[in-house]
């Protein structure tokens, strides 16, 4: 116990688990992770035009952002797309999760898994380029240039994020209740509607929230798929890069951050419940 003796000589207690310097590096990591975000949030409350000089507290940039019609439209568009994409993704993901969980392996199940997780594996820029080509030809052929393309694209890459919590919830669910329902002459649909769905609901909501957050965050695919004048909040912010940056961008970022945080907290509460009292 050479190390222990050395530690004892220095008058410290020897801990088996500790590695020298690790705690310091970890603390640096946490500070570095949060410092830029905190700075960004702080400067959204700057009274001046700068993101470096502090000229007093004010929420005027929030009002400027709110009154900017371009920002209003982009925010509304972001919310519409995220809501639609989350609804579609969580619906199809729920069906797929029921098909692939708590069932004996069947031919093609791995293929379905791969398919569902595909958006996690393919680099986003590649998917973005592929969708650009594909949707561009459809736009030419049909003349339709609405939000539908963005909603389909978002719904597609949200599927794996919606699928994971739903599947996790299903796997932890007790199947005897459904068996009991079947014994009591419930039709499969009744058993699903009255037993499975209510039990599964927290998983579905959690999945939908994750999908919503992921859709809200997307830049690359949106940037490539959108038609003219279809900016979402992130692509609007990316477009602002070419101009002088004012705390308005910080204000929008902060608003998005808060929204994400709220949704994530709800997500964590929903998924933690599962572990606390497994049904």
């Amino acid at each position: 116990m050479a190390e222990a003796n050395r530690a004892a000589k220095k008058g410290k207690t020897f801990s088996v688990k500790t590695m020298p310097g690790f705690t310091t590096v970890a603390m640096i990591c946490f500070i570095v992770l949060y410092a830029p975000i905190v700075t960004l949030v702080i400067y959204s409350f700057n009274a001046g035009n700068s993101i470096a000089f502090w000229e007093g507290f004010s929420i005027r940039w929030y009002f400027i952002a709110l009154e900017n019609t371009v920002v209003q439209e982009a925010a509304l568009r972001s919310l519409i797309i995220a809501t639609a994409a989350a609804a579609i993704a969580s619906t199809v993901a729920t069906m797929a999760a029921i098909a692939t969980t708590r069932t004996r392996p069947f031919r093609g199940r791995t293929a379905i898994y791969l398919m569902i997780n595909q958006p996690l594996m393919v680099p986003e820029i590649v998917t973005a380029v592929a969708l650009l080509i594909f949707f561009a030809s459809i736009k030419v052929a049909t003349g339709y240039t609405g939000l539908g393309y963005l909603i389909i694209a978002h719904a597609a890459f949200c599927v794996p994020f919606a699928y994971l919590p739903i599947r996790a919830r299903l796997e932890s669910m007790d199947s005897t209740l459904e068996a009991a329902a079947a014994d009591l002459y419930a039709t499969p649909w009744q058993a699903f509607r009255r037993i499975t769905l209510p039990l599964l609901a927290p998983g579905i909501i959690a999945g939908a929230m994750l999908a919503f957050v992921i859709s809200l965050d997307d830049v690359i695919i949106t940037e490539f798929v959108k038609s003219a004048g279809q900016d979402t909040l992130p692509t609007y912010m990316l477009g602002q890069l070419r101009r002088a940056i004012t705390p308005e961008v910080n204000a929008i970022s902060t608003a998005l951050l808060v929204l994400t945080l709220v949704l994530l907290s709800v997500f964590f509460v929903l998924t933690r419940d599962r572990r606390a009292n497994p049904d």
């Binding site: 690790f22 993101i51 080509i133 998005l256």
Partner: protein, 312 residues
């Protein structure tokens, strides 16, 4: 199923029917998801593959003549005058930068991520959840916002330069934005959680009694770390490294914002081919190349993960 039929005909024909019904039900239930992903993700990739074997159109787009030209152009260029073949230096330097920055990002995130994951894994159960939550929040927050945050900190009028000038360390702002270093910093910053989470999963399962055994056998800290900890958590290291390397290689937003178009990576180079009426087949071939590299990396990832399961 056919085999089951021959064994016990009376029961198994019924069983087989139920089984077929079950499989059909499962496929039907998965169908909407499959259709959605075929339209919105996988199917279009096939078009990209086809485009990579076509000739470029005059104003962007393609002409439907099969050729390997785009794949050839990824690495080589033909001199206009004497038609000699040269390596495409401009392309190679972009590939080199992409690979170099991705590897460095992986190294940096490992150097910072490992102690962090170790720190979290050695906390009490209650504390662990809180520390993990702190790592997860940035992971789920908008990548663009995090990149913006880095940009605001390091730009010429940003807080670092302003403070340094104020306190007299420097007279003129240091140009940090739009350099390779900025891209590297940004990528390490945004992908750090992707390194910490799998490392944590690995270290958390580590049996710390092994360390005691090591110390009992007169190993010093470095030996214990090098000979016991590292080998046993290596699946987590491989997993974390690939999870960081893959998105780094395909990064688009971070190099665009922090590299400012000057320090292009392969993702930005692909966009360029489609952006301004350029060479679509070349862009398609580059996309496929990126996809192949990522697929190979992910195969290693799957192997690392399954190795993890079998030893844990």
């Amino acid at each position: 199923m056919a085999a089951a039929d021959t064994n016990t005909p009376a029961i198994s024909s019924h069983e087989a029917r139920v089984n077929t019904q079950r499989v059909r039900r499962n496929w039907l239930l998965s169908l909407p998801a499959i259709c959605l992903l075929l339209i919105g993700a996988s199917g279009p990739l096939l078009i990209v593959l086809i485009y990579s074997f076509l000739e470029p159109g005059d104003y962007g787009g393609v002409t439907w003549k099969p050729t390997l030209d785009a794949w050839f152009k990824i690495f080589f260029r033909v001199d206009i005058f004497d038609e000699t073949v040269h390596l495409a230096d401009a392309h190679l330097s972009i590939f080199w930068r992409s690979v170099k920055l991705s590897l460095l990002t992986t190294l940096i995130t490992f150097a910072f991520g490992f102690p962090t994951a170790y720190f979290i894994a050695t906390r009490s159960k209650r504390q662990r959840a809180a520390w993990l939550f702190l790592i997860t929040i940035p992971f789920w927050t908008n990548l663009l916002i995090r990149t913006f945050a880095i940009m605001e900190v390091i730009r010429n009028e940003g807080i670092v330069n302003t403070l340094a000038i104020k306190f007299g360390f420097i007279d003129t702002p240091i140009q940090m934005l739009y350099t390779e270093g900025a891209v590297l910093l940004g990528m390490a910053y945004v992908y750090l959680p992707l390194m910490v989470l799998p490392l944590y999963a690995s270290i958390e399962r580590f049996d710390f009694r092994l360390l005691e055994a090591g110390y009992d056998l007169y190993a010093n800290r470095w030996q214990v770390f090098r000979r016991i900890v590292l080998p046993l958590v290596s699946p987590g290291i491989v997993a974390g490294s690939i999870l960081v390397f893959v998105p780094s290689l395909g990064a688009y937003v971070t190099p665009r914002v922090l590299g400012g178009g000057r320090k292009m990576m392969i993702g930005n180079f692909i966009e360029l081919q489609f952006g301004q009426g350029q060479n679509w087949p070349l862009g398609a071939a580059l996309s496929m190349l990126l996809l192949i590299v990522v697929a190979v990396a992910l195969l290693f990832y799957v192997r690392a993960i399954s190795g993890e399961r079998s030893h844990g």
